[in-house]
Symmetry: C2
Subunit: 276 residues, 2 copies
Amino acid sequence: MLALNTATLGHNLDGYGAGWSPERVIDACAERGLAGIVFWRREIGSRAFAIGNRVRAAGMEVVGLCRTPFLVGPLVPPTREARMDDFRAAVDMAAALGAPVLTLVTGGIEPGTKGPHESQKRLAERVAEGADYAARHEVNLALEPLNPLYGGNRTCLMTVRDALRVCDMVDAPNVGIAVDVYHVWWDTTLAESCAAARGRILGFHLCDWLADTRDMLLDRGMMGDGVADLRAIRAAVKGAGYSGTCEVEIFSAGNWWRRDPDEVLDTMIDRFRTVC
Amino acid sequence: MLALNTATLGHNLDGYGAGWSPERVIDACAERGLAGIVFWRREIGSRAFAIGNRVRAAGMEVVGLCRTPFLVGPLVPPTREARMDDFRAAVDMAAALGAPVLTLVTGGIEPGTKGPHESQKRLAERVAEGADYAARHEVNLALEPLNPLYGGNRTCLMTVRDALRVCDMVDAPNVGIAVDVYHVWWDTTLAESCAAARGRILGFHLCDWLADTRDMLLDRGMMGDGVADLRAIRAAVKGAGYSGTCEVEIFSAGNWWRRDPDEVLDTMIDRFRTVC
């Protein structure tokens, strides 16, 4: 089952993605028989109920919402109150959309500390602070480990193993893990880590790692164009009991975001069938 | 014991490092009581014997030489013969310099394959092809795992654990591992991996990971300016039996390479004393 993460259509920078509205994205996905869509908060505004209902009326599911504020690190909201307000706003929007999963990108290394360990402890405390609120709204939180290249300011979880350790610290039934090819493709212990995460994988994100990656943020590849072993990673995730959608999420300012969204959708469907 | 990797003075790009010759670098390191120097091949030319002797005459050691050609991946020399010729030339230069360690940066994912596993197997075969030649010249080969951000075209070893697995496959007494803070700082299993590598760590490289890293190649930080837990990493390496020098290797086109080399050397010595 295939889902679109709207980032793939360049939603989040002006001048990309041909300016498609959420409604147009929904129609284009439904026409192609996709199973669902993952949105970003900036696209939704105050229309969460309407957009969620439109997705379901078109025969699809809202698979998830991106994302919480950073909870630790140098880019965290300036006060505890601001952080919790924004966290609750993200949960509220997920609930209004009918999205069962809210992605949690953690933020980086806490100022004044060194290495990932202390930040992971603080992260666990802060996820625990918000997990009950999310549970009351029937929203699951998916902690997403990011490629170590983001270890400075965007994440303190660099592997599925790291994310699993924080899940264990939080120990809440609605807190799990998102596995993204871009972030984990290089990890030769991934199959074991996914097995250890059995029952706690809440999302699976597809793209590819381009051998000659040129930008630290916006140069992800279409499935098949890079060096990730997509079949092996998908098998590891499925083997750990994950039965949800495969969600295509490609940040690509230099290539896919410049193309016609219809072409991007057709290509990702074709590649999903042939190389994943 | 502190050593300089000459990359720290911007040796390898025109217009950086104030154009210091190897001799001037040797004198500046000796004046400051450093234990040794690691050179890059491009600096040595045909003067390996003279430069090695000058280092020793100044009371220091040539700690190592950077580096072999890539042995796998898209940037490998075009033929087996060209690869082996360049590999042997690197060994010959290390031997002529009196450098006991030659750093081996592996190259990335083999074209036509996916994921790191197959490339690691081929790497092991190719290291084995060259290990005897290096042994006959009393040169040890240090396999250096690189940060996963280089996993496309520059490395197929993303962790100390990966490097150790390839060492096990090669199973030659002169093949070990280099541990570089920039590449491993994020790894929460590093202490275990280093313990498993006991007796096989041949080099330890210092710098720092800047929280707001802006360039994929040339934005490394001076020790203390980033988020790596330098003391913990050094302790893990020492705990695994490593008793060699701590080698400062900072690629920094935007900052340190633009400064007076005397200032860079003084700063790295001060930071080594205070934050490592």
